[in-house]
C-alpha cells in the first residue's frame, strides 16, 4: 500500500453564497487516498463532509460561490479539466458517488435493473442487453439477487435499496467510490452487512473508498485511515488503529468519549 496516492487533494475549499454572506463549508482541506484504501471522513452534521464529496464529484448546488484548491486523480489534474472532459473521463467511470439519503436516490418509476444500467447507457452508450449482463453481475457483488432487476424500488427493503444504489456506483468499475452517509437510515444489522459487502468489494476489486459518516462505530469496520472534520477543516488525519485507540486532537478525544459503550470505564 505504499505506492503513490490515487487521489490527492490539496487545500480544497468550497464557499457558498447565502443571504447572510459567504459561508466556507470546506476550508483548506488536504488529504490523499491510496489505491485500495478506505478513508473515513468523520464529523458532526454541517461540518462540510457532504460539500467535500460534492466538490470532488463536481455536483455542487447552485449557490456555490467559489471552489479552490488542487485535486489530482491518478495522473490527471482534475482542477484543470473542463466540465465535458471531466464528465467523459472521470465522472462515474473512475470516481463514483453514493448519495446521502440514497434510500430515495432511486427513481420510483424506473425498474431497478434499468436504473443500475443507466450510468452505463449514459456514459458508454451500451445497448441494454450488454448493460443488463453487467448489472446482474454487479448486483450479485453487492448481495442482491439479479431476480430483483425487474422490480420497482418501492418493492425493495431499505437495505436492498441501499445495496442497489451502491451497485449503481460500482457498475462502471470506478477506482474510487465516495459514500456519503450510506447507512445512516438503516438498522444496525443491515449496516453491518452492507459494511461487510463493501469490505469484500475492497478486497476483491481493490476499489478505494471515501466513507463519509458521523457514525464512529460503523465506520471503524471499514476504515484504513480516519480524517476527522470540524467546521470545514480536517483536524486530525491518521491511521484507523491510532485514531480509535488513542486520538490526538482534543475534539477527537471528546468524540471518541461520546461513543456509547456497554460498560462505561
Amino acid at each position: 500500500m505504499g505506492d503513490r496516492p490515487l487521489l490527492q487533494v490539496d487545500n480544497l475549499s468550497v464557499q457558498y453564497r447565502t443571504r447572510q454572506g459567504l459561508v466556507s463549508a470546506v476550508d483548506g482541506v488536504s488529504f490523499d487516498v491510496r489505491p485500495s484504501e478506505a478513508l473515513v471522513v468523520l464529523g458532526e452534521s454541517g461540518c462540510g463532509k457532504s460539500s467535500l464529496a460534492r466538490a470532488l464529484m463536481r455536483v455542487l448546488p447552485r449557490n456555490v460561490y467559489h471552489v479552490g484548491g488542487r485535486v489530482s486523480f491518478g495522473d490527471a489534474d482534475l482542477t484543470a479539466m473542463d466540465a465535458e472532459h471531466f464528465r467523459r473521463e472521470v465522472q462515474w467511470s473512475r470516481m463514483a458517488l453514493v448519495m446521502q439519503a440514497s434510500m430515495n436516490a432511486l427513481n420510483p418509476v424506473v425498474r431497478v435493473g434499468d436504473q443500475v444500467a443507466e450510468p452505463l447507457r449514459v456514459l458508454r452508450g451500451w445497448p441494454s442487453g450488454k448493460a443488463r449482463a453487467r448489472v446482474a453481475e454487479v448486483l450479485q457483488l453487492v448481495g442482491v439477487s439479479p431476480d430483483f432487476m425487474g422490480r420497482y424500488p418501492f418493492e425493495l427493503s431499505g437495505g436492498m435499496r441501499q445495496r442497489v444504489v451502491i451497485a449503481m456506483a460500482l457498475v462502471a468499475e470506478p477506482e474510487l467510490v465516495i459514500l456519503d452517509e450510506p447507512t445512516s437510515a438503516l438498522d444496525v444489522l443491515t449496516q453491518a452487512s452492507i459494511m461487510n459487502a463493501l469490505k469484500e468489494i475492497k478486497r476483491e476489486l481493490g476499489t478505494s473508498f471515501i466513507l463519509i459518516t458521523h457514525d464512529v462505530a460503523t465506520s471503524s469496520e471499514l476504515a484504513d485511515r480516519v480524517a476527522l472534520m470540524y467546521a470545514g477543516q480536517f483536524v486530525e488525519v491518521c491511521d484507523a488503529a491510532t485514531f480509535f485507540s488513542e486520538p490526538a486532537h482534543p475534539y477527537s478525544r471528546m468524540l471518541m468519549a461520546s461513543v456509547p459503550r456497554f460498560r462505561q470505564a
Binding site: 464529484m57 455536483v59 447552485r62 464528465r87 467523459r88 465522472q91 462515474w92 463514483a96 458517488l97 448519495m99 446521502q100 439519503a101 440514497s102 430515495n104 436516490a105 432511486l106 427513481n107 420510483p108 418509476v109 424506473v110 443507466e118 450510468p119 449514459v122 456514459l123 444504489v165 449503481m168 462502471a172
Partner: protein, 292 residues
C-alpha cells in the same frame, strides 16, 4: 277558392308546408301531407342562344324523408354527414389535445430544470397567453384568413402551447427537480435533455393522462362552436356544420328537431364518454383518489 301558388302567400297556399312538399300535397289534408293525385305538367322555359344548343333537364321526385337521421334542406342524408363528421371531430380533439399537452409539458419541464431567465420568460409568456381569448382569435383567423380545419388546429395548438397547464405542470415538477435521484443522475453525468425527458416528465405522466383525456372533448366542442359560427371547414362534414345548416334553415322553427338533436346528442355523448374515461383513469393512475 281559386288556388294560385304564384300569388297566394306560401303558408296559405301550401298549408304551412315547405314548397317542395306543399306543391304536390293535398291542400285540405290534416296532419301528414297526402299526395294530391292528378296530372301535373312541367313547363320548362329556357332561353338558348343557338338553335342546336342542348338542354338537359331532370325532374327528381323524392317519395319521403329517408335515412335513419333524416335529410336536410338539400335532400342530403344527414346520417352521412354525422358519420363522416365523427372521425373529423375526434381527430381534431385528439390531435389538439396531444399537441398542446406534449408541448406544454416539455416547455414546463425545461423551465423548471433550467430555472432563472428561461423559467421567467416561459412564465411571463404563459401569463400573457392566458389573458388572450382563444375563441375570438380563432373567429378572426377564420373570418379573415382561412377556415381550413387544419389551419384552425394549428392555431389551437400554437395558442395552447403556453396555456395554463404550464403552471400546473411546473408546480408538479418543482419537487421532482430536487429529488435525490435527479442529483444522482447529474453525478453520473446524464445530460440535461435526458434528465428532462427521461427522469422528470415520466414522473408526472400518470397524473397527466386523465387530464389529457378530459381535455379532448374541450377541443371537440371548440371545433363544433367554430362550425356553428359558420367557420367550419368548407370541404369536410362536421357535426358543427350540420348544426350550422339547421340554424340557417330555421330547423327548430320548422319543427325539424331531429336535425338539431342528433348532432347535439353525438357531441354530448362524446363529451360524456371522454369525461367518464378520464374519471376512470384518474382512479387507476391516482390511487389516492380511490377512497373518495
Amino acid at each position: 277558392m281559386s288556388r294560385s301558388p304564384r300569388t297566394g302567400a306560401w303558408s296559405d297556399a301550401w298549408g304551412g308546408l315547405v314548397p317542395h312538399i306543399g306543391l304536390l300535397a293535398e291542400p285540405e289534408s290534416e296532419g301528414e301531407p297526402q299526395v294530391r293525385e292528378g296530372r301535373y305538367t312541367l313547363l320548362l322555359e329556357a332561353v338558348v342562344f343557338d338553335a342546336d344548343a342542348p338542354l338537359e333537364a331532370e325532374l327528381v321526385l323524392y317519395g319521403r324523408v329517408h335515412g335513419i337521421a333524416g335529410t336536410d334542406h338539400q335532400r342530403r342524408d344527414l346520417s352521412l354527414a354525422l358519420m363522416w363528421g365523427t372521425p373529423v371531430t375526434l381527430a381534431f380533439g385528439l390531435i389538439a389535445a396531444v399537441g398542446t399537452t406534449i408541448t406544454t409539458l416539455i416547455i414546463a419541464a425545461v423551465g423548471v430544470w433550467y430555472r432563472g431567465w428561461v423559467d421567467a420568460v416561459i412564465q411571463r409568456l404563459t401569463e400573457v397567453n392566458m389573458i388572450l381569448p382563444m375563441l375570438p382569435i380563432l373567429v378572426m383567423v377564420g373570418t379573415l384568413y382561412s377556415t381550413s380545419i387544419w389551419l384552425m388546429l394549428g392555431v389551437v395548438v400554437v395558442l395552447g402551447i403556453f396555456s395554463a397547464g404550464i403552471k400546473m405542470y411546473r408546480v408538479m415538477l418543482l419537487p421532482i427537480r430536487e429529488a435525490p435521484y435527479i442529483e444522482a443522475a447529474q453525478a453520473y453525468g446524464a445530460s440535461n435533455l435526458r434528465i428532462v425527458m427521461r427522469y422528470m416528465i415520466p414522473r408526472i405522466l400518470p397524473v397527466l393522462i386523465p387530464t389529457f383525456v378530459t381535455l379532448i372533448p374541450t377541443f371537440v366542442f371548440l371545433e363544433a362552436s367554430l362550425a356553428v359560427l359558420g367557420l367550419g371547414d368548407p370541404v369536410l362534414p362536421t357535426w358543427g356544420k350540420v348544426l350550422n345548416d339547421a340554424q340557417s334553415q330555421s330547423a327548430l322553427y320548422n319543427g325539424y328537431t331531429y336535425w338539431v338533436v342528433s348532432p347535439a346528442v353525438l357531441l354530448m355523448l362524446t363529451g360524456l364518454g371522454f369525461a367518464m374515461l378520464g374519471f376512470a383513469m384518474d382512479r387507476v393512475f391516482n390511487p389516492r383518489l380511490r377512497s373518495l
